[in-house]
């Protein structure tokens, strides 16, 4: 695994408010290669954002990283001081949030915000900053005239593009994105996805892309991790995972979105809703919603077992010795 830029090892994150802690990320491990595009999918509340925040070292109380390591470019980021993190953030990795409206400063122009970010990383040459600002705007296909705009003067799609432009200012090796398209129309969503993919190919950064809409990443990610109630329940290369999903939950997700191609088929989606993280069912946590449930599923907590081209956390694929 010499090519890995990121190695997430056994990360556990809990929210401790009153009563039982909610374990939003429960022993999650995966690696990411240089230039790789990893999609992370799952329903709301399954821990996607919490996992991204843990990776980017942006967790704040009541969230707490209980255990695990996040090795980024050979260095464990867990336990780094805020000053050290600040020098890495934006330069080595950047984060694009779900709502650009929350992430951008409403009272500053786009160029002022680009300026702040670059100065914070020691770029003080005004002409150089201007040139780079124009470059990244061109990368995301926005006229440089909008450097003078305030966030509210831009459409939702343009704001998300500006966020991505900002994330690329210092040419990071990794960009993590938390549902950057979910507030957008289908058309704007598609065009943003295509653009992210083109930029990633051209500039070679790695991407972790979080979404609740599995269909969105089908054409764009190299690998896919499916999360359920804090755990990765299936992980593998994207194409085989779509062609032959193994875990009953993955199959349910794939049975949730209508197609415009082929014959029209009735879809069922997934019955019920995800469990309360402070009160998980015994054994497999997908059990109450699973159509393939067996007696053993209440007793044994499944591990990730190889199956087909992927690995799935389901006792159907347990090695029987």
């Amino acid at each position: 695994m010499s090519d890995a830029i990121l190695d997430v090892r056994d990360v556990v994150v809990e929210y401790t408010t009153s009563g039982e802690p909610a374990r939003a990320v429960d022993h999650v491990s995966f690696t990411l290669d240089r230039g790789e595009f990893l999609g992370i999918v799952g329903e709301s509340g399954c821990g996607k954002s919490t996992l991204l925040f843990a990776i980017a070292q942006l967790l704040s109380p009541p969230a707490q990283l209980v255990s695990g390591e996040v090795i980024f470019k050979g260095r464990n980021m867990v336990g780094l001081r805020e000053g050290e993190l600040r020098s890495i953030r934006w330069r080595d990795y950047s984060v694009v949030m779900q709502s650009a409206m929350n992430a951008l400063n409403p009272v500053k122009t786009v160029s002022a915000q680009f300026d702040d970010t670059m100065r914070a990383h020691g770029q003080t040459n005004a002409a150089g900053i201007r040139t780079r600002s124009r470059e990244v705007m061109a990368l995301v296909g926005i006229d440089a005239i909008h450097l003078k705009s305030y966030p509210h003067q831009l459409s939702g799609g343009m704001r998300q593009r500006v966020m991505i432009a900002m994330a690329l200012l210092l040419s990071p090796d990794l960009v993590v994105m938390d549902e950057p398209t979910s507030a957008l129309d289908v058309v704007a969503q598609r065009s943003l996805m295509v653009q992210i993919k083109e930029l990633q190919r051209k500039l070679g950064f790695a991407v972790i892309f979080v979404t609740h809409d599995m269909s969105l990443v089908g054409h764009f990610s190299d690998r896919l991790a499916v999360m359920y109630a804090g755990k990765i329940v299936e992980i593998g290369p994207t194409r085989p995972l779509f062609a032959a999903p193994q875990h009953p939950y993955t199959r349910g997700l794939l049975d949730s979105f209508p197609s415009v191609y082929g014959p029209k088929v009735a879809l069922k989606g997934i019955p019920g809703s995800p469990p309360d993280l402070t009160d998980l069912p015994s054994g497999c946590r997908f059990r109450p919603r699973c159509g393939s449930v067996m007696a053993r599923c209440a007793e044994v907590e499944p591990a990730l077992y190889p199956s087909g081209d992927t690995r799935a956390r389901c006792l159907l694929f347990e090695e029987t010795v």
Binding site: E43, Q195, H219, V260
Partner: protein, 340 residues
């Protein structure tokens, strides 16, 4: 302009029909005469037991249509006929409330549409008292329970006692439908009812609409920006661009043989792993805000097929191959004698 769809199937009297429906907004301050054209010259027909989808990007006028049909906005021009009667004649508070009971709206945001301090039972009871004033308290409760059960929220008695925060997004959206259903409506205006929900929950709400249409005979106006979900539930589809209808017709027909370049763009944008892998250059355009427009096709700035006439003449809806399938495009659906 008349709707050919309606006359072609004259044996089904329309439930609701719009004639040249138009809504402009004055913008830019007191002395400005800038007018934003949110909806222009819309002729739409909804029949009993029919789901009609209105599809388009944000800003294309979809919510304005819903609000016009709900009598929240008055038209700038044109008319709306509900069971043959002009809404211009529905004026008294009593008549308006009765109309809104027959044509209720379900909104996009299940989190904002319920008051957090009241139980579900209270919300349903208040709505019924307003729209069905002749019912007794006992009858209202029975009706609320029937509606909750019809949308799959059971045991209904327990749901009545719950507060909105005790329910998931999908459940809250079902409460929205239950409220509409309790009025015994003829037509439900559903403005992006699933776009804020998780993908895994959306399909359940779409199935619910289909079932209510089939079993209770209710018609739906289903507003969405997602043409795939429109295909899943709607009998007919209306594609809007910048306040005008670009294409309309029976859903399967329009999707199998899309005529308008904009419909083709919408189709190509559907995230669908079953689609052939074509990662083409992104269309980064957006629908324009239509302020004091001159003639010409509003899609021309984004259209790969635009020709000279597109900038000077507004294309009319013309019949394509199949009756009821119409598109407004000089190139792909030219009017007879218009373009060589």
């Amino acid at each position: 302009m008349t709707d050919l769809t309606a006359s072609a199937i004259a044996d089904h009297a329309p439930l609701l029909q719009t004639v040249g429906l138009t809504r402009h907004f004055r913008i830019g301050g007191l002395f400005s005469n800038a007018k934003l054209h949110a909806v222009d010259d819309l002729s739409l027909t909804i029949r009993p037991r029919e789901i009609v989808a209105v599809v388009g990007e944000s800003g294309s006028g979809k919510s304005t249509i819903a609000r016009l049909l709900a009598k929240v906005y008055e038209p700038t021009d044109g008319d709306i006929l509900f069971r043959g009667r002009s809404l211009h004649d529905v004026k008294s508070r009593r008549d308006v409330l009765a109309y809104r009971g027959q044509v209720p709206m379900v909104l996009q945001d299940p989190f904002a549409s319920l008051n957090p301090v009241h139980t579900i039972g209270y919300a349903l009871d208040r709505g019924l008292a307003l729209h069905q004033p002749t019912l007794t308290a006992t009858e209202r409760e029975a009706e609320a329970i029937r509606a909750l059960e019809a949308v799959g929220l059971s045991p209904a008695r327990q749901v009545l006692a719950k507060y909105p925060h005790e329910m998931s997004g999908g459940q809250r959206q079902r409460v929205g439908f239950a409220q509409a259903l309790s009025y015994k409506p003829k037509l439900v205006l559903a403005d992006e009812p699933v776009s804020m929900l998780d993908v895994s929950i959306r399909i359940g709400v779409l199935n619910l609409m289909a079932r209510l249409c089939e079993e209770e005979g209710i018609s739906f106006l289903y507003i969405t920006h997602d043409i795939a979900s429109a295909r899943y539930v709607a009998h007919r589809i209306v594609v809007m661009y910048a306040g005008r209808v670009a294409e309309t017709g029976p859903t399967e027909e329009v999707l199998r043989r899309p005529v308008h370049p904009y419909t083709r763009l919408l189709l190509s944008a559907v995230p669908d792993p079953k689609a052939p892998i074509t990662i083409t250059a992104a269309d980064t355009g957006e629908p324009p805000r239509v302020v004091n427009p001159g003639p010409g096709c509003r899609f021309r700035q984004r259209c790969p097929l635009a020709i000279a006439i597109c900038a000077t003449v507004t294309p009319d809806l013309t019949e394509a191959v199949v009756p009821g399938h119409m598109a407004a495009c000089h190139v792909t659906a030219p009017e007879a004698g218009m373009v060589a």
